[in-house]
């Protein structure tokens, strides 16, 4: 198929496949490449860490309370003598999982609503856009807190303390962050649906669903991928904020935000306790944001690099 596409004979630069071209553009953003490596290291550490670092997260040792970094405890210990490195590995799994899952929710909801609004030419499109604007002007953190306050106990009874709060946090964070994706998808759809290649598909008798799935959606994905990447970072911050306010995961689940919440009363005697999880959140978020920036360079074909 690719061999049949005629490249313009006068083109001076060699043409690459779209993926290779994107990779070439992505590589030019040095910080984005460094960030991708950093994030990969973080993910590998969090996923495979427990295999190498076999200290339990719940081992209490009162002889080693609030100790700074040492060989036995590379990131020090907390007020019960628990190993902070082990707790951070455990918490990192939750924080990253929440980020990814909430991103999936917001991208799926946003793409659905944006696609519906972009394809309909009547009242439905207007109503959906009004809904999007309404959600954009909702105060997110207060509403997030309100929803968790109201639904926490009900879900805890059904899915258990950790599972229930995980589902709740993912659905609520994702459910409050789909609006930018919806707007992007709608804008893309409005312009793409009038393009010649879609008209050609329509003339060939392609059904509406086929037009959307085969022709419009793949071309609208670039901005969605970028927005989705940044959503992961925002979801990680949102989850950490909830845990930091003491309203996220249950107290014995050491997410990064929860570690900070527990550490904030011991800043004068055990600063390391707050610094390591805080740095982990910062590294994850800044790396994801830079990756999003690099993807913007890579996927926006109009930008000349």
């Amino acid at each position: 198929m690719a061999g049949l596409t005629l490249a313009s004979p006068s083109a001076e630069r060699r043409t690459y496949s779209p993926w290779r071209e994107s990779w070439r553009r992505y590589r030019r953003h040095k910080l984005a490449v460094v960030s991708a490596v950093l994030l990969l290291v973080l993910v590998v550490a969090v996923v495979f860490g427990p295999l190498l670092w076999r200290v339990s997260i719940n081992d209490i040792d009162f002889n080693a309370r609030l100790e700074g970094p040492s060989l036995a405890h590379p990131f020090g210990t907390d007020d019960l003598g628990q190993d902070i490195l082990a707790r951070m590995i455990y918490g990192g799994r939750i924080s990253l999982a929440v980020g990814l899952a909430a991103m999936m929710v917001s991208v799926i909801v946003g793409t659905l609503i944006g696609a519906l609004a972009g394809m309909s030419r009547g009242a439905l499109g207007h109503a959906l856009m009004w809904l999007t604007d309404l959600f954009l002007s909702l105060p997110q953190l207060p509403l997030l807190l309100l929803l968790i306050y109201l639904f926490r106990d009900g879900l805890k009874a059904v899915f258990g303390p950790e599972g229930g709060i995980f589902i709740l946090i993912v659905v609520v964070i994702g459910g409050l962050r789909w609006m930018p994706v919806a707007r992007l998808v709608r804008a893309q759809f409005l312009s793409l649906r009038e393009k010649e290649f879609v008209e050609a598909a329509r003339a060939l008798g392609a059904s509406r669903a086929r037009q959307v799935v085969r022709h419009i959606l793949p071309n609208a994905l670039g901005p969605v991928i970028i927005a989705g990447t940044i959503d992961v970072a925002a979801a990680i911050i949102a989850e950490s904020t909830l845990s930091f306010l003491g309203l996220g995961f249950p107290p014995d689940t050491p997410t990064w935000g929860r570690l900070l919440y527990d550490a904030k009363d011991y800043l004068d005697i055990a600063a390391h306790w707050a610094l390591f999880p805080g740095a982990a959140i910062f590294v994850a978020v800044v790396a994801i944001n830079f990756i999003g920036d690099g993807l913007r360079d890579a996927l926006d074909a109009r930008r000349v690099i």
């Binding site: 207060p142 306010l245 003491g246 004068d268 707050a274």
Partner: protein, 319 residues
């Protein structure tokens, strides 16, 4: 212009109603019954419970309950806080000025940083200054407010011992000493919130100015012999500020989120910390009212942004 203001005011009403509807639906979907305690209390006969339910309208259809709730909210009857033993509206009015003071000063600080830095970076795109500012801005909005708050306390209170890290309302001093203390204790919270805002605003300002600075009318102004400062301030800034105002308005919900966190870290007695403490105390009327106040503030600031928009670009208010 007055017609434009009126039209904007009228547009704000449906969004307020929409927000109140969202809040009410959330509350009514939530599990739990305000009379569940009575149900398990053997001293209360079931007839009394049912009569109470009927009296408070809990068996009415949902749209009637929404209307009742809305009318009560509009009349200022916001309920009673069980944790603080006072009416919710007086409680919120006590706390609101502190929140507005902190948010207002931090927004001011953010503008004072973002506009000069963003404009200067845009006049010299891809220079060293631009790249440093860009990277710092990127780091700035990737640092969550709760972590910057902790870092600031660690550096300025614990290590250097320059600033107090707990905000107090009853400072034992008068006159200028009182004012000095008041400013001193607000420095850290305002810096935390302001720097976070400044980071994203700088990027907005930079890209908006970059869009405008290449336009023909700017070249015309330059070729008339106007100085660089005058071209930037009089010709570029006014047009560049239009998209910036919109973007700042879109950031307002995030500002309130940051304010809640900041108030919690520094124990500022504003409505953000009130929200957290009432959630922990299961004080539902206060939780609902504070969320609604935050929503109203967002709508109010969007309205202000719309009005600024009309002032910056007269074409909009004529349409």
């Amino acid at each position: 212009m007055s017609q434009y203001i009126l039209r904007r005011l009228l547009i704000a009403i449906p969004s307020l109603l929409g927000i109140s509807l969202v809040l009410f639906v959330v509350l009514s979907l939530a599990p739990g019954d305000p009379f569940s305690e009575l149900a398990t209390n053997p001293n209360v006969p079931p007839e009394v419970r049912l009569a109470l339910r009927a009296k408070f309208g809990l068996d009415d259809p949902i749209y009637l309950r929404y209307l009742h709730w809305l009318v009560a909210m509009a009349q200022g009857d916001w309920g009673f806080s069980f944790a603080s033993r006072m009416n919710v509206d007086t409680l919120i009015l006590q706390r609101l000025p502190t929140t507005l003071y902190v948010i207002g000063s931090s927004q001011l600080l953010a503008l004072l940083i973002a506009i000069p830095v963003g404009v200067y970076a845009a006049t010299r795109p891809y220079s060293v200054f631009d790249q440093v500012a860009n990277t710092l801005a990127f780091i700035g909005f990737s640092l969550p407010t709760f972590f910057t708050g902790i870092l600031f306390i660690l550096i300025f209170s614990v290590k250097l011992d320059w600033l107090p890290f707990v905000y107090t309302t009853d400072i034992k001093a008068t006159g200028t000493a009182w004012l000095g203390e008041q400013i001193r204790q607000a420095i850290m919270p305002v810096m935390v919130l302001g720097l976070f805002q400044a980071a994203s605003m700088t990027r907005f300002v930079r890209s908006a100015v970059l869009d405008v600075i290449r336009l023909d009318y700017v070249t015309t102004a330059r070729s008339k012999g106007l100085g660089q400062a005058r071209v930037i301030v009089r010709h570029v800034m006014r047009n560049a500020m239009i998209p910036v105002v919109t973007l700042i308005a879109l950031q307002i919900p995030a500002v309130f989120g940051g304010a809640i966190v900041t108030e919690q870290i520094f124990r500022i007695p504003g409505i953000g910390s009130l929200l957290i403490s009432s959630i922990l105390a299961n004080d539902t009327p206060v939780v609902m009212a504070v969320t609604f106040v935050f929503a109203c503030l967002v709508v109010l600031f969007n309205l202000i942004a719309d009005l600024l928009y009309g002032w910056l670009d007269p074409r909009i208010s004529l349409r």
